[in-house]
Symmetry: C2
Subunit: 588 residues, 2 copies
Amino acid sequence: MISRMSTLFVRTLREDPADAEVPSHRLLVRAGYIRRTAPGMYTWLPLGLRVLRRIETIIREEMDAIGAQEVSFPALLPREPYEATNRWTEYGPNIFRLKDRKDADYLLGPTHEEMFTLLVKDLYSSYKDLPLSIYQIQTKYRDEARPRAGLLRGREFTMKDSYSFDVDDAGLDASYQAHREAYIRIFDRLGFEYVIVKATSGAMGGSRSEEFLAKAEVGEDTYVRCTNCDYAANVEAVEVRAPEALPYDDAPAAHAEPTPDTPTIATLVDHLNEAYPRSDRPWEAGDTLKNVLVVLLHPDGTKEPLAIGLPGDREVDLKRLGGQLEPLEVEPMDDDELRKHPDLVKGYIGPEVLGTEGKSGIRFLVDPRVVTGTRWVTGANVDGSHVIDLVAGRDFTPDGTIEAADVRDGDPCPRCEDGTLESARGIEMGHIFQLGRKYAEALDLKVLDENGKLVTVTMGSYGIGPSRGVAAIAENTLDEIGLCWPRNVAPYDVHVLATGKDDAIYDAAERLAADLDRQGVAVLYDDRPKVSPGVKFKDAELIGVPTIVTVGRGLADGLVEVKDRRSGERTEVAVADAAAHLIGVVRG
Amino acid sequence: MISRMSTLFVRTLREDPADAEVPSHRLLVRAGYIRRTAPGMYTWLPLGLRVLRRIETIIREEMDAIGAQEVSFPALLPREPYEATNRWTEYGPNIFRLKDRKDADYLLGPTHEEMFTLLVKDLYSSYKDLPLSIYQIQTKYRDEARPRAGLLRGREFTMKDSYSFDVDDAGLDASYQAHREAYIRIFDRLGFEYVIVKATSGAMGGSRSEEFLAKAEVGEDTYVRCTNCDYAANVEAVEVRAPEALPYDDAPAAHAEPTPDTPTIATLVDHLNEAYPRSDRPWEAGDTLKNVLVVLLHPDGTKEPLAIGLPGDREVDLKRLGGQLEPLEVEPMDDDELRKHPDLVKGYIGPEVLGTEGKSGIRFLVDPRVVTGTRWVTGANVDGSHVIDLVAGRDFTPDGTIEAADVRDGDPCPRCEDGTLESARGIEMGHIFQLGRKYAEALDLKVLDENGKLVTVTMGSYGIGPSRGVAAIAENTLDEIGLCWPRNVAPYDVHVLATGKDDAIYDAAERLAADLDRQGVAVLYDDRPKVSPGVKFKDAELIGVPTIVTVGRGLADGLVEVKDRRSGERTEVAVADAAAHLIGVVRG
């Protein structure tokens, strides 16, 4: 097909849109791919829609190839199924809710686990019907508090969501693996840099979970990878390797010491080195146990205090902590809240009063590094006093461990012996989960097994965001002059520019476009007679079709210029050979 | 591609669903094409989605062929544009409204005129940019009071809506004509019986308007067609041909007469023939002028009385009347409301007190047949009294005319001399409108013309409902045993049944399916080993793929049976020739 710039519904802009925070957003708007309709909501112009559809087509082909079957649910959904799984409440203000004319409650679906579960329950009843994988490519909604970065965090967006249904864990593993491999094929075909990282499963529940991230500095997700092995994980999913428990038979008894005016770790360490110097090495922040109080917000609005114990050289990473506690939300405990707990002495809180068995009754979870036998300096629950030589497992026993401490470049790899972690940023574009039986149990999806017994089905959930993908791929591939699409998702295969005023130029360009079209090459043809060559070049660079052909001055010598948008490499080609040459380039 | 009944996500049902009112709904559910999710909302199963996609593809191809360009808007839309055109109010309870977390108003788009208008305003500014036609295929929402008949009147549905933009009326005519021809090609390709009828433009405003109806007895739309010429119109759009005005010089003066106990037309006619017999012919209902009071409900909630004068042998057709008055709603005036108008004497209302100049001040519109010079018996505004020889244009002058009287089989054709009208029912599947400048004016869409002057753009609006289309085509083509798809929209080209227990049968069926697949034929293969031939036949008849091939007992003689689903015609074909034969059948 041929689209002509003279009639294509597009207007390229020289200025950046005022609200654009990231390069992909700026360029997608400037190049005429999308227009903002409302906060977090975008209209797809023809160029953008072509990219979106190509991504969807690749996804569909690979889903079909693993035997997944396409269905399509409404976006507007009744409340009841989401009530049954408690997500109606858990989503809080993050979903759009509405009432119909009969005052019945509806939501705009943020994800469809409940609906798929009920559909399978509706149609299927036997182990013979399974395994089953079904999917849809459909519009989804989240009422984000801070929609940002154009398509990267929108409030209306498209998702491919698939779900697998199996009778047992081995089946789920196989379905998960099939999806994982399909996702790798999809991401490879899309043609940009991505990384697969271990992930938390968050509000979805379930066990095994991985994310497919587009590498991008502007990404919201921070992940780490090992410098030595192939370990990679979303920061929220990093599991600190707990050291072995230490013997503590020779440890002195814990002893409280006056430490006036040491409400911070830094002042405490200074004081320790001055008042209680150690012979072997100076006190460091890592010798102290910091006890941080936070408040958990339950979906029903109730609040619960929680204490986190971690080495004093680490900070609590609220995002990591939140990832462990979803669907609860976490916020730091403020002084007003702190005063409600008279056993807690600000700046001098110690394990003695913490824990469900402690005086305060506040649940106390510690960093995995706080293993039995480790010795700590920590608050003595008295103003101006700390305890030294407090031994975990001897002097205090926390309620459990939690991954709440920040992860840093250079931290040891949790998997291999020699590697260390380094961090980078990415954009979540795909996510695969082993949901397990959470939804099947809540909605009573059972089938008869081989022995005629009812068994609860186990499920997987697999998502890719095609609309976010447009921005993620743009972000990963753009350069300083414009968009620069991978060949498989570009809106057109070839951008033909006719530059100059001679009819011969336009005739030759027209013939070239027609030749390419006949061979199934999608052509964007800049046929605008009154637009300068400079503007045409700039538009072509901005729009980012991978191959740009200029039919211009060189035509007098029988030549056209073929430029590779990414490398900038230019080749002169005889006009007679141009179509054949370009087909070679396009087909690789 | 090959889908196997053993794994296809489908469950055919022998029983009709309890809520199904029409055959297409019953069969689409029973054959496993759709499942109900909520009132007026359906989930598409794989079979149904394939039909829907084929319809959408045909529409897309023909839209692209006339140079219309595809875009895609959000379904969730901000209130402001709809406020600017007053439709936020006019739609009343018929749209879904919601608030986001910041309390901003949104709606789920029932149609996108405003958004398209604003997008063109955003991008374009010159006559050189026009003409332009842009379209989307997208999910739309209406909160119907009475969702019914499955997909025929749903609350979430898909629409292809396109809009044309031109600088002048001639341009709009050309764009309208291009769309009309594209629609004819689309409907021809879809392969079912349809009719194009003149329509009212309803809430859309504008002038020329036609509907594409699928012929179906269960349709909600009644249309009439001329037995003589090619006139066809939705009943709401029929325009009665007004007779010539009559001379009334020799008419006697109007005279009130006592007509006690004659509150109805029938009692009045009886009384007239008894008390005031005419020499030439008896009094008939058509000699009386019936004045009917209704109440108009404005979108803002205010009410307005309206009087309709029409020959006594006609009834007011509220749907026809409503069609003329949209977006206002119409309801009969009840006695409570009537009592608020002391000048109106129930059963004896006459023109004297009606009209904006009359004592009541109530607007008075008459049927087009009530032309100047016609003589009537009508109420005298006194209980038990009527006026005889009341002459239109002499004794009373209405505020205007309105098409409110019912249309009947046998009525004269409004266009030709000799034809009469006959009625039939259909399902609206497409609608094309000349909107004119209504939206461009409300939203200030102007472009510079050739002389550098700002001119308001004129628009057309063109819709087809693909999801309703699935049901409309099903309804038009089904028979007593099941669905029976036209070839171009069938979910598969060929349904291969393996019947029997021999491995040889399944091997041969498998090979046939694979041969067809290699040639690009879409095959549904019933490979279920433990299902009886009878069930397989019944399922195939129900599902309605146009060509059914049975590989069964005949295989011993080297034969398979090819059955045409519609005609029921069976042909024995040598198994070796089956693939070639079927490809001939499929490709026509």
